[in-house]
Amino acid sequence: MRSLFSLTTLLSLMLLVACSSSSPQPAKTDQPAAPSSAASSPVSGPTTHVVTIKDMKFSPESFTIHEGDTIEWKNADDVAHNAVANDKTFATQKLKPGDSEKWVANKKGSFPYVCTFHPNMKATVDVQ
């Protein structure tokens, strides 16, 4: 009788574990690896998109976001950089290694931008 109880308990526990592991995890805010998918997802409310600056590159170099979303540039490189839109719509300050800065995209359009310290570093953000 006791062993039957233990077996039932064990089976119940296994079932619980199986159910919880197959449950979907809550969606998180956008990370650099998948900015475009987050931009196109039907999630309501503004999203923060991270652009990592590393090895003399903006990553991602090109992506689309929605008006009202936020872009956060994080400098993970060994030297200082900035991000300045060609039309001057936005301009970060000098981002030393480890610094970050955010911009709320409150204007629609295509915004090519550069690091003015290293003008060979180019990227584009499209705000829809």
Binding site: D55, V79, A80, K88, D99, S100, W103, C115, H118, N120
Partner: protein, 194 residues
């Protein structure tokens, strides 16, 4: 005016020629010699930038110079760490000696200039110097580096030097046209975090 222009151009051309001559005479540098050349090349540009920070009042020139101090010090730090890791001590070479000799001559010439003439000469020298550094890195240092990590580090540094070249060209162009190249964009709506 004409004399100053000639002087600044002469400095840039002389730098380019000497660096090229040094490359031609270089006999396949060893890894320790490559590290020695990289350290010297970086230090030369830091010293030139420090001179610019001392002499120039031009915003764009000073910004370029401060960037050269910061970026090349960062490269020196990385080179030092890599050298320790690989147990490679910087070694002397003919190329390194030529670089040092030329840097002394350039510094002497730049020191004799003032105001706009200095700014122009410094920017021209930065353009010529970085172009030659890029050529030397891609044609001499990377092909001759034996250690894979050293080769990879040199390859990784190339875009940084290219960025410096383009920035220096912009400053040079701005000085010639008399227009500022500094971004006038507003920082309104931006939130900075250290």
């Amino acid at each position: 005016m004409m004399r100053n222009r000639f002087k600044s151009t002469a400095i840039a051309v002389a730098t380019a020629l000497i660096f090229s001559a040094a490359q031609l005479h270089a006999q396949a540098p060893s890894d320790p010699q490559i590290v020695g050349i990289v350290v010297t090349a970086n230090q030369i540009d830091i010293d030139a930038a420090k001179l610019a920070l001392k002499k120039s009042k031009n915003k764009e020139v000073r910004e370029l110079a401060q960037q050269m101090v910061d970026d090349h010090n960062s490269v020196l730090k990385s080179v030092g760490e890599l050298g320790k890791k690989l147990n490679v001590t910087p070694a002397a070479s003919d190329t390194q000696k030529s670089l040092k000799d030329q840097a002394t001559a350039t510094s002497k010439k730049l020191s004799a200039l003032k105001g706009a003439a200095f700014d122009k000469a410094y920017a021209e020298n930065e353009v010529a110097y970085h172009q030659q550094v890029i050529d030397a890195v891609s044609k001499v240092l990377i092909p001759n580096a034996k250690n894979a990590e050293l080769k990879s580090a040199l390859t990784g540094a190339a875009p940084l030097f290219q960025g410096h070249l383009e920035h220096a060209k912009q400053v040079q162009s701005g000085l010639e046209s008399g227009k500022s190249t500094t971004a006038k964009a507003s920082h309104k709506g931006m939130s900075h975090k250290h």
